[in-house]
């Protein structure tokens, strides 16, 4: 059992911290207020290699293993403030690049993976619908086969990256009665006839990550746009979610470390009643809880990475990590605001934004309740 990153992994994480700290934090308060996505930040991350981390070199990536990928994401969260940008990169990686790598034809891999890795193409994921959220396979978007082509009709919501995306992973059903076995996945490019954006969706947090609805009206796509086998889109989606649940909260662990250090510093220097507030047990205890949450969250995330590195099933461990880290992230974000008092509630202090950003972690990639269902299934109860 090894609890340390290798020298190379640590060096890469340190570089990611510097990238995030030096290049991704500009004008953060304003960009958050304006809900502005940073294409510049996206490009800088791509130049660093973030978007190509788990993708083999032959397709433009670096072939990093899951632990290395998690380490970089943790570094970005620790060094940076733009959790929205990192969330967008996560969506791009886990819902586009990884499923294409696993289920794509050779042509699809060569067409999409290099530009997805170098950042010139942005991917979005269209799966959720108004009546198909946690019960995702009850989706109503219909897929009909006509003369060798597929015709899609329906509407997707919560489509992260949609307003800036060049390609969309889209799911629909050929027959709702078939449940998961009727689902098909497609890669559809921006500008395809019948594909258009719906209204933008504003959010409580992660505001620099753009989101909108996606409308499909007689959207005709060739058979070559299908990802995976006909009727096996659920497998593609499950693959996507397996990676997403494992890795999407790594940056949140980094944020938890940053919050912890910021709170310790504040508790040492902020004085009330003629002493540093850290001397008050109620404040110290909050910071202790933040420390314990950070350490345990980190262990869970890296355990999932280690299992994936060994090609072992990580479904239940990823669900446990997702459940625990998201819950801990929200609690620690709230503690950080409380420790900073009234100042922590003010935008200028840049503490409250983490709290707003944290809440989504209990909802995206499967709500906490869905994670509990997965864990219960893993326990065979």
């Amino acid at each position: 059992m090894e609890f340390e990153l290798t020298e190379a992994q640590q060096a890469l994480q340190d570089a990611a911290v510097r990238l995030a700290r030096d290049e991704l934090c500009d004008d953060m308060i304003q960009r958050d207020a304006e809900r502005r996505f940073s294409r510049e930040g996206w490009k800088k991350c791509a130049e660093f290699g973030v978007q190509g981390l788990p993708i083999p070199e032959e397709y433009g990536g670096s072939g990093a293993d899951p632990i290395t990928t998690i380490a970089v994401m943790e570094g970005l969260g620790y060094g940076g403030k733009d959790s929205g940008l990192i969330f967008s990169i996560n969506a791009h990686l886990w819902t586009n690049s990884i499923p294409i790598l696993k289920y794509g034809t050779d042509e699809q891999k060569r067409r999409y993976l290099p530009p997805l890795c170098d950042g010139s193409m942005i991917g979005a994921n269209g799966v959720s619908e108004p009546d198909a959220g946690s019960d995702v396979f009850s989706m109503r978007t219909r897929v009909e086969k006509r003369r060798g082509e597929y015709v899609l009709n329906g509407a997707k919501i919560f489509v992260t990256n949609a307003p800036v995306a060049d390609v969309f992973a889209v799911y629909g059903t050929m027959d709702p009665r078939l449940g998961p076995m009727g689902i098909c996945a497609f890669m559809i490019e921006k500008g395809a006839p019948g594909l258009r954006l719906g209204k933008p969706m504003d959010k409580m947090g992660l505001r620099t990550s753009p989101m909108s609805e996606l409308i499909l009206e007689e959207c005709v796509v060739p058979e070559s746009a299908r990802l995976g086998r006909e009727g096996r889109g659920a497998e593609v989606f499950n693959c996507s979610m397996a990676w997403e649940r494992a890795c999407i909260l790594a940056s949140c662990v980094g944020v938890m470390r940053r919050q912890l250090e910021q709170c310790i510093q504040y508790a040492r220097t902020r004085k009330q009643f003629n002493q540093p507030i850290g001397k008050f047990q109620s404040v110290a205890n909050r910071i202790v809880d933040m420390k314990v949450r950070y350490e345990t969250a980190r262990l869970l995330i890296y355990k999932v990475g280690a299992l994936m590195c060994q090609n072992r099933s990580a479904d239940m461990d990823a669900a446990m990590a997702k459940l625990y880290v998201s819950d801990s992230f929200v609690k620690s974000s709230l503690d950080a605001v409380q420790i900073h008092g009234g100042s922590g509630y003010m935008t200028e202090m840049e503490v409250e934004r983490d709290l707003r950003d944290s809440v989504g972690s209990m909802l995206y990639s499967g709500t906490s309740d869905i994670q509990r269902n997965i864990i219960a299934r893993g326990l065979r109860i």
Binding site: D175, L178, P180, M181, E230, G231, R380
Partner: protein
């Protein structure tokens, strides 16, 4: 592969994956799996993936409903028809 061998292999898998702790004798060749909820829709997806991998067959979407997968007998019939056609 005989139907009995197929049923035995699949029975072992279902007991381990979906019915841990159950009396193996309770899972007969005619025990309804889908219609009684022993296999929900997600479990069916997992079973189909298992059958394809284990027996080297390909199942179509219309072959993954309760009519084809409801009992061990149904499953063995489906698998054997695929193996015979290969």
């Amino acid at each position: 592969m005989s139907p009995e061998e197929i049923k035995s292999t699949v029975r072992t898998h279902i007991l381990a994956e979906f019915l841990p702790g159950e009396d193996p004798a309770a899972l007969t060749d005619s025990t309804p799996l889908v219609s009684t909820g022993i296999l929900d829709s997600i479990a069916v997806l997992g079973l189909v993936t298992y059958l394809e991998s284990k027996f080297g067959i390909t199942l179509e979407a219309h072959e993954t409903d309760a009519q084809h997968l409801n009992t061990l007998t149904d499953i063995a019939r489906l698998v054997q028809s695929k193996l015979s056609a290969a």
